[in-house]
Symmetry: C2
Subunit: 485 residues, 2 copies
């Protein structure tokens, strides 16, 4: 079916959206007219009938338009429409396509669509999916729908679904599918070719056939490219590749993604501890995983729990964002109390109040640069135990140079602004010390978190900013109190 559907580039996709919006706008216009006429009770019945037809016609056009669109494109249109129009379009989508579209939309939009559907519709949508797809959708479905769907599955499918749902979200088990084509090693390529012709179509992303023995144990793989260029008389066993990548269901999906990148894979076998073939991972699942990882990392960096439907109610957004603001409030409050402890000094030399945010701010920026470098190096496996002291020396070196150069510059400016050489000196020393503190923490925080088994990427930015803020205020105001007052 998918080959009848249109594929669109970015401009065409934009055009689809505009067209849908246009049809919706016309639909709404007519609806308003009809509504207004009904209100004024002057409805000339014939005119209303015509308008009713026009009204329906737009929806019919829209219906036809949607039928020709790829599910991923419909998902795009749904995400870009505000809630009322989104649900109108959703109602026009052919029911047998609901399932694949629900898989494509973002989590937030999916929730809003599922809320609008009756249990029977949801059941029909779910039943149109493969078991691995169903496993992705299942957590969002009402319990009774899942149970109904589960009863409708074959024993093998139930087993697959149970397996797919039992793996945590970030593992290979959660991104694998079950559509493997398997062959035996003692048959000829000719026989394989004949076997393949019995399929109506091969599963998507079939770039290799999996060679298994009678116990379903993986013996090797036969790439289609090898199948196609070799003499049909040859046996599979003579051509199959035995040193292939095989993943385990409980491997981290991130590791699978790295293997796909390193070895430029299209698909890879997933085997259990007995080397039995249980599924396969395909590059499209890996691409989706990589994108989602990058996105959730980006969101996490600003303390956003999840992606927001841009049309979500205000209260949902407040909930999504509040935890981070609360944490920042606490760290800002601590920094504020550090300043509070030096109120006497500030009262005597009010210039300190104006200069202190510079020391804290630059420290935070520099620390964030360090932490991002280290987190990336850890993620790429480049941080070996003996590299720690080397990294620390390097970062301290960078901090020292930056502190002397930028701190020196700001020291001169402070001297000039407030006509006090000693204030300038305090400024330079405080900047340098705070940058050194930032470098130390920028190396130590992610490495400690990593050693303790935590994800070094999470929360590092908040911690270092808290440290360089409070630390910066303390160092600057402390030095000033010691040497200037």
């Amino acid at each position: 079916m998918s080959d009848e559907l249109q594929h669109s580039d970015a401009d065409e996709l934009q055009a689809h959206l505009t067209e849908v919006q246009d049809l919706l706008a016309r639909h709404r216009l007519v609806e308003n007219l009809v509504h207004r006429q009904e209100m004024s009770r002057q409805a000339d019945s014939q005119k209303a009938l015509v308008e009713d037809l026009v009204h329906k016609q737009h929806l019919v056009q829209l219906h036809a338009r949607l039928d020709r669109m790829h599910p991923a494109d419909i998902a795009y249109v749904l995400e870009a429409l505000p809630p009322d129009e989104r649900l109108l379009v959703w109602d026009l989508v052919r029911a047998d396509r609901d399932g694949e579209i629900l898989l494509e939309v973002s989590d937030a939009v999916r929730e809003s669509l599922i809320e609008s559907m009756a249990p029977a519709e949801l059941r029909a949508a779910a039943e149109s999916l493969d078991t691995d797809e169903l496993a992705d959708l299942a957590p969002d479905l009402p319990r009774e729908v899942i149970e109904d769907v589960f009863r409708s599955l074959s024993a093998e499918e139930r087993e697959q679904l149970r397996a797919a749902m039992s793996y945590p979200e970030d593992t290979v088990g959660a991104i694998m599918d079950f559509e493997m084509v398997t062959v035996r090693e003692d048959v000829s390529l000719e026989a394989v070719l004949r076997y393949l012709r019995r399929f109506d179509e091969l599963p998507d992303h079939t770039d290799q056939l999996f060679v298994v023995d009678r116990d379903e144990r993986l013996k090797g793989v036969l790439p289609l490219n090898v199948l196609l260029v070799n003499d049909p008389e040859t046996e599979v066993g003579a051509l199959m590749q035995t040193d292939c990548v095989d993943l385990r269901p409980d491997d981290f999906a991130e590791e699978a993604a790295k293997a796909f990148e390193r070895y430029d894979l299209v698909s890879a076998a997933v085997v259990d501890d007995d080397q039995k073939l249980v599924g396969r991972v395909t590059v499209n699942a890996v691409v989706d995983f990589i994108r989602e990882e990058a996105e959730s990392e980006q969101l996490a960096q600003a303390g956003l729990r999840e992606e927001e439907d841009i049309f979500a109610p205000v209260i949902d957004s407040v909930k999504n964002r509040w935890a981070w603001l609360a944490v920042n409030l606490v760290t800002a409050f601590v920094a504020s109390r550090v300043i509070g402890a030096f109120e006497d000094s500030i009262e005597k030399l009010v210039a300190l109040a104006a200069l202190m945010p510079i020391v804290a701010g630059i420290g935070g920026n520099s620390g964030n640069q360090t932490i991002i470098m280290i987190v990336r190096a850890i993620a790429m496996g480049q941080v070996q135990p003996d590299a720690l002291s080397r990294l620390l020396r390097k970062e301290l070196g960078v901090a020292l140079i930056n502190g002397l150069v930028w701190g020196g510059l700001l020291g001169l400016i402070s001297w000039w602004l407030y006509d006090s050489a000693s204030l300038g000196l305090v400024m330079t020393s405080a900047m340098t010390l705070n940058l050194l503190l930032a470098a130390l923490a920028g190396v130590a925080i992610p490495i400690l978190r990593y050693r303790l088994g935590n994800d070094p990427a999470i929360g590092g930015s908040v911690m270092i900013t808290a440290l360089t803020d409070s630390g910066g205020f303390f160092i600057f105001l402390g030095l000033a109190t010691l040497f200037l007052l």
Copy 2:
């Protein structure tokens, strides 16, 4: 060749690295011994000979180890080693593999390796690559090497190289390759199968054959899956898919990546304005592109120009980071002058100095949350012209709620700390106003940048932090001056 090489999962990769390091360590140990003996001039010649052999033996082992490793894995090992050991290992790599490994290592490490190579070695490495790969490497090679390599190419290859190098880094032209297998539409599948058997191997990621006419114009594609399941008597033209994704060389690579994600592609044709087939994009190039984009975005967010070799000299790191620090210095200085303008007020009521960073800090965090949401919505094409006012209303609503809740809380704390209800009220109002400013700017900055044709993701965080810092200080100190003094 690649099928003889080992594929490793994460643990095995780590084991490779440890093994290499171990061999290097033993090598160094012996080297030290020999060196020490030479220094002490007591070298017993026989003993030295034995050690010399042991010494060589480690290098031979290492050599053999490297020969069996996949180029991507060697790249990983090279990146994880400090410069001296990196060059030692690099010398042990078989010369005919230099090219593919140079393609795999990060930019910074690539530079360090190329610097260590003689022009003749570089020429040999470059000549082992396909033209599209050469185009990736060329910018890093010395001019005379490129010229030599260019002369060694065939006329067609020169044309391809020139084409590939002429496209900007973020376009389809820069990520495409030229290894397409083409067929005519009037031949039978049987003939296609016979034609394919004449190949030694098909290009990587051949999931479809491109159907062209005698002028090389793309008529459609024949997926291998279709080729394999259909009757060999059928003609290509009857089975080929005509509504396929075709990219243009000057399309943005990001658009191609989105098409690959939407339609789960493995390869896609690249055609010129006459619909002539000029190349193809494969999913591995897309995966690399997506990773690199995500990484450079992450680096850009902390103002890092490029990835750093973690073992790079301090001075390189300083250069990579200085621009961002300079910008932040300017914005921090501006904020400092805003405070400077209110020094009289602070002198009279020193509590202001302690409270003002809270107002600025929370504003910055909230603004960054907004900007990330909007940038993501723009990137996904979800921000339509009429959505602007809706988005703005929503973000202002979120800001108002957060301002009243968190600002109210901080107002109460300030009241309690400084025993002044009016100070608490000023705190609450300033927080609320600064959060509203942050929301306004968080929506306006990325949308304006987008309308002006700039990348909305770049620099937004700096701008909004600058605004909420200076704005927060101004609002808080201004309100305090008006109402408290």
